[in-house]
Amino acid sequence: MIKFIDANCRVGRGPVQREGAIEDTAALLSLMDDFHVAKALAHHAVAVYADPLLGNELLIKETRGSDRFLPQWAVLPRIWELFPTGAEWLAQMKENGVSSVRMFPAQYGHSLKRYAAGELLDALGECRVPVFIALDQLKDWDALYELCTDYPAVRFVLCSPGYRCLRSLVPILENCGNLFVETSNFMGHNALRDFCKYHGAQRLIFGSGIPEASLAAAASQLCLSEISDEEKQLIAAGNIERLLSEVRL
């Protein structure tokens, strides 16, 4: 049986409550149990939609004491003294047991160019902290290419690439070895099989996309794919475990 780590999970309340959706941590844990998800890399809705620092703080408070959640902070570049420097982010992450981050440049309205985000991304790259970023946070696919080439030391995990992505994604994968792909909504017909054939299973990271997307769907997609059990296990948990084990804070 495949054991999972869900690398794309959001906790806390966002602006939309969906009918019949899981509503709290207890329900989320029950769902994780159903699908053999040992742990989830979780970020917080308040960090996404309201206050990054408060959301990160809530995340730590709400997941403290649980060994099922690996807190993932939302980070953004320093502005005056409103947000930390890269070094300060890293120190706080170490203190709070955070070993991966997400960026929301579209939501937060900041640039990823070196003049704006270079100090932060260089610091994250130096410590090998995986940086998760969803496709809808980027202006276009060229922005993803520029991000990967501007910061070759950073390991970027592209979240929710969609099922229409191949013509844009494949050339970036072929040119940028520091790009990994999270599987939620990577739903082309036989997409996981094809990805493994052309790019290797090592660059796929399992994620559910909870709460917008579904753990049941993501787990089914992976388990029913025509790839070996070894490849499934790498995607389900092995790859993210490897990336996290190489973080040096």
């Binding site: 229409r164 017909h189 579904s214 049941a216 089914s220 997609q221 059990d229």
Partner: protein, 258 residues
Amino acid sequence: MIGENVLRGKPFDGVYILDIHAHLHCSSDFQMTHTSPEEVVDTLDKLGVDGICASSIISIHADCRLGNQLMLDAVKKYPGRIYGYVTVSPHDNEIDLDPFFAVPGVKGLKVHAAFHRASIDDPRYDPFLEYADKKGLPVLFHAWEAIDTVHIARLAARYPGAKLIIGHGAMRTWEVKREVIAAVKKYENIFADTTVSVAYDGAIEYAVRQLGADRLCYGSDLPFYDCRHVVGKVATSRLTDGEKEKILGGNARRILGV
């Protein structure tokens, strides 16, 4: 128990699965993969899915007549595995439907008004809907927006003999679901399907509570995108096996007359 082997990666066994919303072939606007009838059937074989009812994307996105002919070829080549929808276009309403329905595997009509730059209530669809009404045929609508379901509900009253399927309707936004729930409750000849690329956990259970298990059908959009996530989502849901059997294939069998 249905779905217990999904996490083991085993094909479905012992439950009849018929996908009521599938396609064949491809469109140009993004890279679709493995879209030929042969490749689609290969996926069905690997998963233990019994069959699909499909329209050709070529008939929707480009040449309606060519696509319908290709659908027909596939239906003839894979009896019992590929059933067919004849796509009808408001721009080509001289088409003679009788020869299509002389082929046993052709089961219904497909209306994709959005791609044909029309509205579902466009009067140019009337002759086709009258045909479906008279013959008791299913009509699968692409129904992405709430207004599409409003139109379908009106058609259900006008064409009570036709079986109208709200494609994509069961697990979309609240605005869409509100109309779908109202339409299904009001008209016995309306059904909804599960076709959607992204839906949250709990969506299928909510849909069944609102619509009833008899009115909801498994649909995937294969090979527009993969079918594994949707069939797995239904199979591993917290529904009863009886509800799953209906949704995965029992209802489609009844509606399509398979």
